[in-house]
């Protein structure tokens, strides 16, 4: 049986109140949703809370999912994205004072971005593999605007195709590609600028 059929069957069982099917769905998607939330919100605590909220919302609105209208993953991504955007709007005031020197999240060392980059004296190709680079990129990613950030997260971190992203974000595919390009370029400029400052 194909994955889509399995998921469709699980969803159908869930709507009839099958707790085991719901647990299977949680097991399948919690890692993906947590990572999406973590990369968007930047904090492990926020990501955990948001992931729970996403699943609560999914659990309540699972009956509204229509198999014929798209893949379950797209629906899940749409639910997650909407909740992340709401969260972003609610916490907008808190982020006004943020800067590149703000402390990192629980998954990172509590070092400012400039210090993290200063420790690395390696060329970019070598740094790609390093753990510290990941933290640096994560911090830079949080500086992107929400539109660009969600586009590059879905494409480069969640490996979704353009059509799925367009469906999840409810924008045309051309807009998706444009946002991904701008997000990648903005991220590269941000990292290069920070790197030059440190050097």
């Amino acid at each position: 049986m194909e994955d889509a059929q399995v998921v469709s069957l699980l969803v159908r069982r869930c709507t009839t109140g099958d707790a085991a099917a719901w647990e299977e769905i949680v097991q399948r998607y919690h890692r993906r949703i947590y990572n999406m939330c973590y990369r968007f919100a930047g904090s492990a605590d926020d990501a955990q809370d948001l992931t729970q909220e996403v699943f609560i919302k999914m659990y309540r609105t699972l009956k509204s999912y229509d198999v014929d209208r798209g893949a379950f993953l797209t629906w899940v991504t749409t639910v997650t994205r909407n909740l992340l955007v709401d969260h972003f709007r609610k916490t907008k005031h808190d982020r006004i004072t943020d800067s590149l020197d703000s402390p990192a999240s629980e998954h990172e060392d509590a070092l400012p971005l400039s210090e993290q980059i200063a420790d690395t004296g390696l060329p970019p190709d070598a740094r790609v593999q390093s753990h510290e680079t990941q933290r640096t990129v994560h911090q830079a990613l949080l500086k992107l605007s929400p539109d660009l950030r969600e586009a590059v997260i879905l494409r480069d971190l969640q490996d979704m195709d353009y059509r799925e992203i367009a469906l999840a974000l409810r924008v045309p595919e051309g807009t998706v590609k444009s946002r991904i390009n701008r997000g990648r370029a903005e991220l590269a400029r941000l990292l290069q600028r920070t790197y030059r400052q440190v050097m």
Binding site: Q48, I56, P124, Q129, Q134
Partner: protein, 248 residues
């Protein structure tokens, strides 16, 4: 210079092909033209380099591990149970009885109860309950009687035989009553006199004021007395006179 042509490609075309070039889905000829333009164009070249660099930066990010209890927390916040698998096949001896009962209820009873809770089902079940309670009260059965029922095999057997005896006795009683009644009817038929003759019956019927013929008679007699009535049954004298006149 957005409209500048480098190696047969204009900058808008370069922008349109940028994503496909990054994804490596262009044909070799297109890719070669694209890269040549990127090398030569002062505005497009840096854009391509930045986008490609950003993609590589993002690809360097690995998945993070979710917290250990995330799944349990999600299940607890949605279904109210930490794990259906544990509830079904885990270690039941370590789980409190109340929790196991609640989980069992959530897994087996709640789904059906959720479906049944719809208004149309509620009305039907209400009617069934009402009919059942009316039937019980009509038959004289009380809840106290149900509590006193013993389900031991000997008691069930005893109940069966006593019920059968009651039914047989009731049937015999009814039969006796009907037999007595039929005998009484026979005796009545013998004792009572014969029925009156038809003439008497007719007379009796005329005396009966409730009969329709009498009403018709009354209607005839109620006609105007001054109006001559050609009698349907002429008197004998008139008939004889008429007959003699015809003979003459």
């Amino acid at each position: 210079m957005p409209e500048e042509t480098k190696h047969g490609m204009q900058c808008p075309e370069f922008d349109a092909m940028l994503m496909d070039a990054i994804d490596r889905v262009l044909s070799s000829a297109q890719q070669a033209r694209f890269e040549a333009h990127a090398r030569m164009c002062p505005s497009c070249g840096p854009i391509f380099a930045e986008v490609d660099a950003g993609r590589l930066w993002l690809k360097s990010i690995e998945e993070v591990e979710p917290p250990v209890h995330l799944v349990q927390n999600i299940l607890a916040s949605t279904t109210g149970i930490s794990s259906a698998r544990l509830a079904l096949g885990g270690e039941p001896s370590q789980t409190p009885l109340s929790e196991r009962m609640r989980e069992w209820f959530d897994v087996w009873i709640r789904p059906g109860f959720t479906a049944v809770r719809q208004p149309r089902f509620a009305l039907s079940f209400g009617m069934i309950f009402f009919s059942f309670s009316v039937g019980l009260s009509a038959s004289g059965l009380k809840a106290k009687d149900l509590a006193q029922i013993s389900l031991r095999p000997s008691a069930v057997k005893h109940t069966y035989y006593s019920t059968q005896a009651k039914v047989v006795k009731y049937y015999e009683n009814i039969r006796l009553v009907y037999e007595v009644e039929s005998r009484v009817n026979q005796v009545k038929r013998v004792i009572t006199p014969a029925e009156p003759a038809p003439a008497e019956k007719q007379q009796n019927r005329n005396n009966d004021t409730s009969g329709k013929p009498e009403q018709r008679q009354e209607r005839n007699s109620s006609r105007d007395v001054n109006q001559p009535v050609l009698a349907s049954l002429p008197s004998p004298s008139v008939t004889m006179a008429t007959l003699s006149w015809r003979l003459v």
